[in-house]
């Protein structure tokens, strides 16, 4: 498999506080990769740095739109601003279901396609999002702020898909959702991946994340403590004790 995203020795600080201290990893094209870890481990910081909302202090983020198999030069995402990262095909679903509460569901989805001009393609993707989340189709004209928590999460994911990303960054999609909805959302994440979108998933719900992804990383206070195939991580003693609540 070829690499889509490569992160080399990434350091990110908030003033004097060092949130990430030398992170390196790769995301293969077509994969679901997950980062698990406790509050404050630096998970969201990492995603916000990839999407350009934060600047790294050191290190680089390389991205090949078609995987690094071809002759294409990598694009240094760490040099771009957030609005240009989206144009490269990297879309983020921010933590906490940040949707545009005073716009309708449809307008929110249209905002997701802000960088695009192909009307036919946008309409096609709108149908795709509706097929993934039939609930959104029912509430298409409603103000997004009046949706339930689960519906808002669906909208946030659908909105990110509207830019037709190659890489989807998901920041805690299970946050604040009921167990049933968590199952639904993760089933959809698998479906999106099945349709060819590479996914980088940040989660606190380690069990769901490790059963969905192929490769996993455990983030602890800004460094990668453990990594490997998810099937191995699920059976690692450290992970089971710390993140899965087993003895």
């Amino acid at each position: 498999m070829s690499t889509l995203l490569q992160i080399d020795d990434l350091h990110v600080s908030y003033g004097a506080i060092r949130a990430l201290r030398g992170i390196s990893f790769k995301v293969d094209k077509g994969a679901v990769v997950t980062l698990i870890g406790a509050n404050g481990a630096g998970k969201s910081t990492l995603l916000r740095t990839i999407s350009g909302l934060l600047r790294p202090k050191q290190g680089q983020i390389l991205y090949w739109a078609d995987g690094n198999g071809g002759s294409e030069q990598p694009c240094r995402l760490s040099d771009l601003q957030a609005h240009d990262v989206v144009r490269k095909g990297v879309a983020q679903v921010p933590e906490g279901r940040i949707i545009f509460a005073n716009l309708s569901v449809k307008e929110n989805l249209q905002m997701g396609a802000f960088t695009r001009n192909d009307k036919a393609g946008i309409a096609q993707d709108m149908d795709y999002v509706m097929s993934l989340f039939p609930r959104l189709a029912e509430r298409i004209k409603q103000n997004a702020g009046t949706l339930s928590g689960g519906e808002q999460q669906m909208l946030a994911i659908g909105r990110a898909l509207m830019s037709r990303p190659r890489l989807l960054l998901l920041d805690e999609p299970s946050l604040g959702l009921s167990p049933v909805l968590v199952q639904t959302v993760f089933a959809t994440i698998r479906q999106i991946n099945g349709n060819g979108t590479t996914i980088l998933l940040v989660e606190q719900n380690a069990h769901m994340a490790l059963t969905t992804a192929q490769t996993g990383f455990v983030l602890e206070t800004g460094t990668i403590a453990l990594s490997g195939p998810c099937s191995e991580l699920l059976h690692s003693d450290d992970v089971r004790r710390t993140y899965l609540g087993e003895n």
Partner: protein, 331 residues
């Protein structure tokens, strides 16, 4: 569909202009100078409120320096008219027909230049300050407004502390409401466009907007510059009506007054800004009978209003014809 929308807008615009011309020639001479002045102030305040609403209500940027842009636009256009255009016009001679053509043309040039000066200042101030958020932006724009005012106060060329006198009186009722209509039309069409949608996204959540691929700084600066342009035009209209400018009219309190129009009318509602600017211009005049209690009553009404309707009169909604004609449904 697009064609039909454009045709309808043109028709409404032509009708509006015709009504303004008729009113300007019949109603205005009839009601006398006092009521005319109130009407003109209503129009100027509508321009100020709607243009600030673009910055504050739609793009969500808390700017309290609108009076500064108004001052800059007003003084620039007044200086242009006083030093260049008026002598030029005098050279043409003053006949009925000549002044009927040359004065509006001169006013148009003068207002445009005043607006552009304010827009340029908006651009220069906006690029660094719009990277700031919330309280910081408010303080930066407040400081900017005061700087403009004090610089003008110390510029002898435009009268300095004595004020700028003998500005030609070119502003008419028709002009004020023509430009108020133009301002409303521009802001309304902008908001309905992709650009406007992006501005609202920036207001709702800047990070999420950036994550959609919206260049947030560029959009904020655009709204700020366009708002400043119309504030400058409003300043020019005031200058050419009162024929006198003094920096005391453009203090921080004037900026706050415009913010009150927007907040009271409802941020994000053009209709709200128009109603609030109209009502709050008439109210202090209507209360003149109460003499020294006038501003107390005015302020108390504002407090009551904000307690009972914190989202503003219109609360982000717009007037629709279907409210008046129940049979008409929005297509």
């Amino acid at each position: 569909m697009k064609q039909r929308g454009a045709t309808r807008t043109l028709l409404v615009a032509a009708l509006y202009l015709a009504v303004l011309l008729v009113l300007g020639n019949t109603l205005i001479p009839f009601i006398g100078p006092y009521y005319t002045q109130v009407l003109i102030f209503i129009g100027i305040n509508i321009i100020l409120a709607v243009s600030l609403n673009l910055i504050l209500g739609f793009a969500g940027q808390f700017s309290i320096g609108h009076a500064g842009f108004m001052a800059l636009g007003g003084y620039t256009s007044a200086a242009l008219s006083f030093y260049v255009l008026a002598p030029l016009l005098a050279g043409f001679g003053t006949g009925g027909l000549i002044s009927a053509i040359s004065e509006p043309a001169a006013l148009a040039v003068s207002l445009l230049v005043g607006g552009l000066a304010a827009a340029l200042a908006g651009l220069l101030v906006g690029i660094p300050t719009l990277r700031l958020r919330g309280d910081y932006l408010a303080i930066a724009t407040l400081g900017m407004g005061e700087i403009i005012r004090v610089v003008i106060l110390n510029t002898d060329f435009v009268g300095g502390a004595r004020g700028f006198t003998d500005i030609p009186r070119w502003t008419t009722f028709t002009w004020v409401f023509l430009l108020a209509g133009l301002c409303i039309l521009v802001v309304r069409n902008l908001i309905a466009s992709t650009m406007g949608r992006a501005l609202i996204a920036v207001r709702e959540d800047e990070d999420a907007a950036a994550a959609m691929g919206i260049n947030t700084t560029r959009h904020k600066v655009f709204a700020f510059v366009l708002g400043a342009f119309f504030a400058g035009v409003a300043g020019g209209l005031q200058a050419h009506y009162l024929q006198y400018l003094h920096t005391n009219s453009f203090t921080f309190l004037r900026s706050i007054e415009i913010v009150v129009f927007v907040v009271l009318g409802g941020g994000g509602s053009i209709t709200g800004s128009v109603i609030a600017a109209t009502v709050l211009t008439i109210l202090p005049e209507a209360l003149r009978g109460a003499e020294s209690w006038r501003m107390v009553i005015y302020s108390a009404l504002l407090v009551v209003m904000m307690l009972t309707r914190p989202q503003g009169l219109m609360g982000g909604r717009e007037f629709q014809w279907s409210w008046l004609l129940p049979g008409m449904k929005k297509k």
